[in-house]
Amino acid sequence: MSGTDGIGTINVSVWRGGPEGGAYQQFDVPRHESQTVLDTVAWIQQEADPTLSYRFACRVGMCGSCAMMVNGVPRWTCRTHVDKVLHDDRMEIAPLRNLPVIKDLAANMDPFFDKWVKAGGVFEGTDTRQDGFAPVVHESADRAEADAGIECINCAVCYASCDTVAGDPNFLGPAALNRAWTLVNDAKDASRDRVLDAVSASGGCHSCHSMGNCQQYCPNGLSPLSAIAGLKRATVRRAFRGR
């Protein structure tokens, strides 16, 4: 299929298939000013092949739904301009790496979010609803560490980029460990030891080889690498204190 009402044409290879396997299918998509990768996928689904499956929601980089592999690199497609990724007017789009495929460009996010829970990522308050507001000291070092990681939008770009996840499917991954580190540094969370136990188990923070793909590709500029280093330091300090 092709379209010609733009300022040119982009040849887009889109991965089609399911859990059993699949292959790339070619589409010619009209090119426009300020066009995003997600725009091209939407055009294909709306104008060329309505059976194409993909996932998106907000289109403004808030929800973390639309991440895909673009030319082999994980990206948030709604905020990635086509101009940035085209090679000779060509582009290849595939479902996120390191996750099972549901259909076409839609990856199954279950393993990703299951690991958030496994890493102790559920908030556990120190107070009841009868207590007053817990004071949060914004100038404290702990709060600065927590603040550095809380803008994660759960897009799984870091998880798809991580070679340790690729080599060890048991590894919790950068996003879940980043979440764990924000909780460890949250004055309102009561589960510090529980979180440190969770990230010390098999597949936890100590499996990370500090390659830094997560930090390089995080669309929000976060550093799960630093969060994981923080978890390693905290667990080792705790061990030397006899815990």
């Binding site: 060890d168 936890g204 390693k232």
Partner: protein
Amino acid sequence: MEFRLYLLQRISALIMVPLVLGHIAVMIYAVQDGLSTDEILSRTRGSVFWAVFYGTFVVAVAIHAAIGLRTITREWLGVTGVTLDGFAAATCFGLLAMGMNAVAAVTLAP
């Protein structure tokens, strides 16, 4: 267990750092006037210091390398469970046996 192995590997690395530097320093010093078997053995044979120095080195290397190879084997070859731990233990004891044999050969008095 993974956390303990992680700790052991870091501690063994810390032990190796001064030993590696000491080993390199002695190598540079020893080759100044040429290098011969007699010259080396005259320094190491009967020396408790060099027996402890290289004995410690061998223990640290055996632990450090076995844990590292265990990780690589798990991630690259998908080996897990008893097979993986057996491989790591065999690597550790193999390196220990070969290393201690070498240390004994150059430090025990003839």
